[in-house]
Structure formats: structure tokens, C-alpha cells
């Protein structure tokens, strides 16, 4: 099993700095997600690890040895591309055996390994088909089979599920985690989907504008985002401005809010608090602290969840309600913000 280490990795395309000094350590046998919006440099980072792009600065190490001078074909990595990139002129069998054939492996050994991996990806009987005769999910499984059959020391996946429909994506998520645990290949995958990252990864690296801004377990990233941007990207889309009255109390335009986590900022400093839409409760009567009045401005039903847009003074918040209650547009409600899910960041 291979440990991956990235030291101060920089990539410039002319004047544009796509990756700005990324440092990352992926433990041997673990599955790490690089999460971020489009254009944040995550795919460029992945391509540099694969050897498909040459870094402008920094180093990439496999088990402590730099691989910068090693061309992609000699790095013993496997890469799964967003658009599968199966060879359209080859059958499934030929696609899967491609890497082994290029190594000049013995035919009997190739057949044995291909049969084994076809069983793992549950595509037995599809050997003679061509990629155009397969569904998206099957094509993706062939792409994965083609990669794992060569026993790569590192598997890189570039948005592997983004071209699949919602149901298939869910199936493939558990397929990938099962496969990765079973084979124990160190895996780094890139995604812009926070749910995918949380469900798949042992650890997540969040990237913005070429920088790795937070690295940690899915729980860390989800519950303890390092700044409002990460919080927003992870779905905590409500931002509330205010100033700290004390270490456990925040004064905002809609009233005082109790905090469970003690912020590092000093009392009196201007801050921004974030909270996820599902951590705000809607009531018709006052029950306790952290409550204030608001008006329902919009209500959209999403099958099991009602998404509300509520307004309190100038503050607009999103609320996701899983209960069976229904509030009408124009109705006055009480909002309750769960204090243990309120996160405070410096205003700038």
C-alpha cells in the first residue's frame, strides 16, 4: 500500500495560478476526497499526481520518494475519468485487459486476472460487448475494472459519478467504497458533490481558488467548517451577521442567540454565524431561547422535505423542515436556531 504526500504543489498556466501551494498527506489504504467547486484546482492537482501535468513548483511523493521525474506510464497509478474514456474500438474484455497486454503479460495470466476483476465489478457475460452497448453505470464499472486489474499503487478518480443518474450514483458510491476497502488501494478522488465526499471518503480536503482550505474527516468538515465559505459549500447556507456579547452569546439584528461552541474571537468583535437549513426549527409558539419571529416568503415541497424561505427584518434564511406540518406563504412563525449547530467565524 502506498502513502501519498504532496508538498507545496503549485501549477501555473501562463498568468493564472490554478493550484497555489497545496499540501496533502493521504494515508496508505485510505480514501480521500478533494472537494470543491468547478475551477478550484482539484482536477489539476489530480492530473499532476498522475503525471499528466508537470507542477510549476513543489513535490509529489509516493511512499516518501519523489515521482516528478517519472512519466505517467511508469507511475503505476490507475485513473478513472469523469467521462469514463473507454476505448470505443475495443470490447469490454480488451478494454479491461489493456494495461496488462501493454505490459506484455502472459495470456493465461491476463485471462485469469480479467475474469477475476469482471466478477468483482459484476460484469461477467459482458466481455464481448463494446462500450457503446453498455449503460453509463456499466461503462463506469468497466473503467474501474480496467484500472484495478493492473494492481495500481494509487487510484485517482476524477468526478467518477458525475455522469450518472441519481439512482446509479447511489449504487456506484457503495460499490466504490466496498471495492476500495476490499482491495485496499490508496484512493484520491475529486468531486464537487459534498454528499458524495461525505459518504465515500475517510478524509476530505476542501479546495477553493487553488488552495486547500480545510482537511479533515467528513464529520469535521460537515460540523466544524473552518470558514463561512466551507460552511456554505457544505450546505450551511444561512449567514447571520452580529457581534459577540460574550463567549456564549451573539447579538444579531433579530435578537440574541446562545452559542454552544465557544468562539476564539474576543468579546465585542464582529462575526458571522452559520447554520444549516435543517438545523432551524419552525414553531407557532415560543418555546425557549434562540427564537425569533419570521414570515414565510416561499414554500416548496420536495417529497418528504419542505423548503421554506423565511424573512425576519432584513435577514433572509433557508429552512428545511422534515415534519408533516405545513406553513403557508405569508404566515407568521417562530424560528428556533439549534445552538449546538451555530458556528461563528470572524466577519472578514
Amino acid at each position: 500500500m502506498t502513502e501519498l504526500e504532496i508538498n507545496n504543489l503549485v501549477k501555473r498556466f501562463g498568468e493564472v495560478e490554478a493550484v497555489k501551494g497545496v499540501n496533502l498527506k493521504v494515508k496508505a489504504g485510505s480514501l480521500v476526497a478533494l472537494l470543491g467547486p468547478s475551477g478550484c484546482g482539484k482536477t489539476t492537482t489530480l492530473r499532476m499526481i498522475a503525471g499528466l501535468e508537470q507542477p510549476s513548483k513543489g513535490d509529489i511523493l509516493f511512499n516518501g520518494s519523489s515521482v516528478l521525474a517519472i512519466p505517467p506510464e511508469k507511475r503505476n497509478i490507475g485513473m478513472v475519468f469523469q467521462r469514463y474514456v473507454l476505448f470505443p474500438h475495443m470490447s469490454v474484455e480488451k478494454n479491461v485487459s489493456f494495461g496488462l497486454r501493454m505490459q506484455g503479460m502472459d495470456k493465461a495470466e491476463i485471462n485469469r486476472r480479467v475474469a477475476e476483476v469482471m466478477k468483482i465489478v459484476q460484469l461477467e457475460g459482458f466481455e464481448k460487448r463494446f462500450p457503446s452497448q453498455l449503460s453509463g453505470g456499466q461503462q463506469q464499472r468497466v473503467a474501474i475494472a480496467r484500472t484495478v486489474v493492473t494492481n495500481p499503487q494509487l487510484m485517482l478518480m476524477d468526478e467518477p459519478l458525475s455522469n450518472l443518474d441519481a439512482k446509479l450514483r447511489e449504487e456506484m458510491r457503495s460499490f466504490i467504497t466496498d471495492l476500495q476497502k476490499r482491495l485496499g488501494i490508496t484512493t484520491l478522488f475529486v468531486t464537487h458533490d459534498q454528499i458524495e465526499a461525505i459518504e465515500l471518503a475517510d478524509q476530505i480536503g476542501v479546495m477553493f481558488k487553488g488552495e486547500l482550505v480545510q482537511f479533515g474527516t467528513p464529520e469535521d468538515i460537515f460540523n466544524r467548517p473552518i470558514n463561512p465559505k466551507v460552511a456554505d459549500f457544505m450546505g450551511a447556507t444561512n449567514l447571520i451577521s452580529g457581534h459577540l456579547k460574550s463567549k456564549t452569546r451573539l447579538e444579531t439584528e433579530v435578537g440574541s442567540l446562545d452559542l454552544a461552541q465557544q468562539p476564539s474571537q474576543v468579546e465585542g468583535s464582529k462575526v458571522i454565524a452559520t447554520i444549516r437549513p435543517e438545523h432551524i426549527d419552525l414553531n407557532t409558539e415560543t418555546k425557549g431561547p434562540n427564537q425569533f419571529k419570521a414570515l414565510i416568503k416561499e414554500a416548496v415541497y420536495y417529497g418528504g422535505i419542505v423548503s421554506y424561505k423565511v424573512q425576519s427584518g432584513l435577514l433572509s434564511l433557508n429552512v428545511k423542515d422534515r415534519s408533516t406540518r405545513r406553513f403557508k406563504v405569508g404566515e407568521e412563525v417562530m424560528l428556533e436556531l439549534a445552538k449546538e449547530h451555530l458556528w461563528v467565524f470572524p466577519e472578514n
Binding site: A50, G51, L52, P71, P72, E73, K74, R75, N76, I77, G78, M79, F81, R83, V85, F87, P88, H89, M90, S91, F98, G99, M102, Q103, F130, S132, Q133, R146, T147, T150, L156
Partner: protein, 298 residues
């Protein structure tokens, strides 16, 4: 349910009428001329006061002509060799054009220039460069590599066909490159990158992944280039090695003869060229389709 009404006469005639201008031009110019040539080659030429229809004598006399089969061989040779060499160089050039290097923009423009210049200009350039008194001979003489410009090897006006092939390559490499480059651009680099990450060397990647996928472009380019070379007249006429020359040149000589009855032999040559050229291209396409079927494309 409403019954489906029958289309009116105008509705039924709409598509045939829209196609009529093209069909009339094609039928008159292409099929008409082929039909006239075919009839004349079988002895029907009342225009010249000849009506021996049906006779094979013009074909028989053609095949018995001294130098005819050498003419066939030259026609093939001048058509196939530059097609093969040109295609290989075009593939290389197309791959090169995908790389980032200084001056790529200028290079991208310059390589297409021959496409806009007539063949005859290429012929003139070849004469200026490659004759015994040409620029290259003078340069080699000036630097002392040859004792006299007469020592410069005979490249033009010989049956080696080097001059003819130089002109063909000059004109056709940009054409084939353009086609293959377009296919390469459509293909993108991802499948090559996938092959590399699977451990394939650069050569293996080209041979097993790139080449099979750009085959449609290569086949289109080679068909057009071969068909042109096989039927080309002016280049072998000017730069060829005299009698026997290529079939189109021999057809013209027979057609241009003071004896009008020779025109029927010219038509027999024209029909022979059309038949051989079509047979070669149909076989080539059939082989290509088989290749594609084996790869699940068709």
C-alpha cells in the same frame, strides 16, 4: 379519429422539385458524360462518323499497345506512393500540431498555404527548385558538393516520378493533415491519457488507441488523395518522363490526335481509369468496413 388525408400533388412533388436542379446537373455532367464515354469506347460515335457498336476492338487495341501496362503501373505508382508517404507525414504533422510550442500559430497558418495555391504553381516551383539549372543544383554547386549543375541528379522528367510526387506531397500533405487534425481535435486527449495511466508507452498509445480512432479521417483523406492522384493529368503531363506516361496523359494524347478515330481509344482509357479507380476504392472501403465491424463500430 380524423382520417389521414392524402398528400396533395404539390406536397408529393415538393422534394423531387427541390432536388431537381442538383439531379439535372449531376445527371447531365456526370452520368451523361460517363454514358457518352462508355458508348464511344464500344464504338458508337456518330459525331465522328463512326458506328461500330458494339465492339471491343478499342479495348483490345488498347491492351495490346506497347507501353500500356507500363502506363497502368506508372499511374498506380504515382498515385499510391505519395498517398502512403503523404498520409504518414500528415499523421505525424497532425500530432505535432496538437503540441504547444513557440510559433505554433504561424506554423498552423503556413502549413495550409499550399491548399490555396494552384497545382501549376507547385509545378513551377518544383521546376525552379529541382531542375539541373534550378536553385538547389546551383546551391550545391556553389558550396562545392557537385562539380557542375549537370551533375545534379535527374529528379524531374523521369519515370522515377519524383517530381510528380513532390508536387503531390506539397499539395496533399496540408489537405490530409487538416482532415486528420480535425478528427484528432474531436477525439481529445483523454483516451491517450487513459492509456498512459494504464502503463502504455507513447508508441503503444499511438498504435493501439490513437491510430484506430483516427482511422475514419485517414480513410477519408486517402480516398480523396488517391482518387485525385490516379486521375491527375497536368502534373504528370508536365513533369513526367515521356512515353509511356500515366493513363490520363495517354488518354489526352489519344483524344488530341489528328485522327478522330483515336478518340474512341481515349474513351476506352477513360473507362478503364474509372473502372480501376472505382474497384480500388470500393475494395479499400470494404476492407475498412470490415476493420470497423471487428471493432464494433458498424
Amino acid at each position: 379519429m380524423q382520417p389521414i388525408s392524402k398528400p396533395s400533388l404539390m406536397q408529393r412533388l415538393y422534394i423531387p422539385l427541390m432536388l431537381a436542379p442538383v439531379v439535372i446537373i449531376l445527371a447531365t455532367l456526370f452520368l451523361g458524360s460517363i454514358l457518352v464515354a462508355l458508348l464511344q469506347s464500344f464504338g458508337y460515335a456518330p459525331l465522328y462518323g463512326i458506328n461500330e457498336f458494339p465492339t471491343l476492338k478499342h479495348y483490345q487495341s488498347l491492351f495490346a499497345l506497347p507501353g500500356f501496362w507500363r502506363s497502368v503501373a506508372y499511374t498506380f505508382y504515382y498515385a499510391v506512393v505519395p498517398t502512403v508517404i503523404g498520409t504518414a507525414l500528415s499523421i505525424y504533422l497532425a500530432l505535432l500540431l496538437r503540441k504547444r510550442f513557440k510559433g505554433i500559430k504561424a506554423f498552423n497558418y503556413i502549413y495550409k498555404l499550399p491548399l490555396m495555391i494552384p497545382y501549376l504553381v507547385g509545378v513551377a516551383l518544383t521546376i525552379v527548385l529541382f531542375t539541373n539549372g534550378g536553385i538547389i543544383a546551383r546551391f550545391l554547386f556553389a558550396i562545392g558538393l557537385i562539380e557542375s549543375t549537370r551533375d545534379f541528379p535527374r529528379i524531374l522528367y523521369s519515370h522515377s516520378g519524383l517530381g510528380i510526387m513532390i508536387v503531390y506531397l506539397w499539395k496533399q500533405i496540408p489537405f490530409s493533415t487538416l482532415i486528420i487534425y480535425s478528427v484528432l481535435m474531436g477525439l481529445g486527449k483523454e483516451s491517450e491519457e487513459a492509456a498512459l495511466t494504464l502503463g502504455a508507452s507513447r508508441w503503444q498509445t499511438f498504435w493501439h488507441v490513437t491510430l484506430p480512432q483516427i482511422m475514419p479521417g485517414i480513410v477519408s483523406a486517402t480516398i480523396i488523395v488517391f482518387a485525385f492522384n490516379f486521375g491527375s493529368f497536368e502534373v504528370p503531363f508536365i513533369l513526367g518522363g515521356g512515353f509511356p506516361n500515366t493513363l490520363p496523359v495517354e488518354a489526352w494524347r489519344a483524344f488530341d490526335d489528328a485522327d478522330y478515330s483515336r478518340r474512341l481509344r481515349a474513351m476506352a482509357i477513360v473507362m478503364f481509369i474509372s473502372f480501376i479507380s472505382s474497384a480500388v476504392l470500393i475494395t479499400y472501403l470494404a476492407l475498412y468496413r470490415r476493420f470497423e465491424r471487428q471493432r464494433g463500430r458498424v
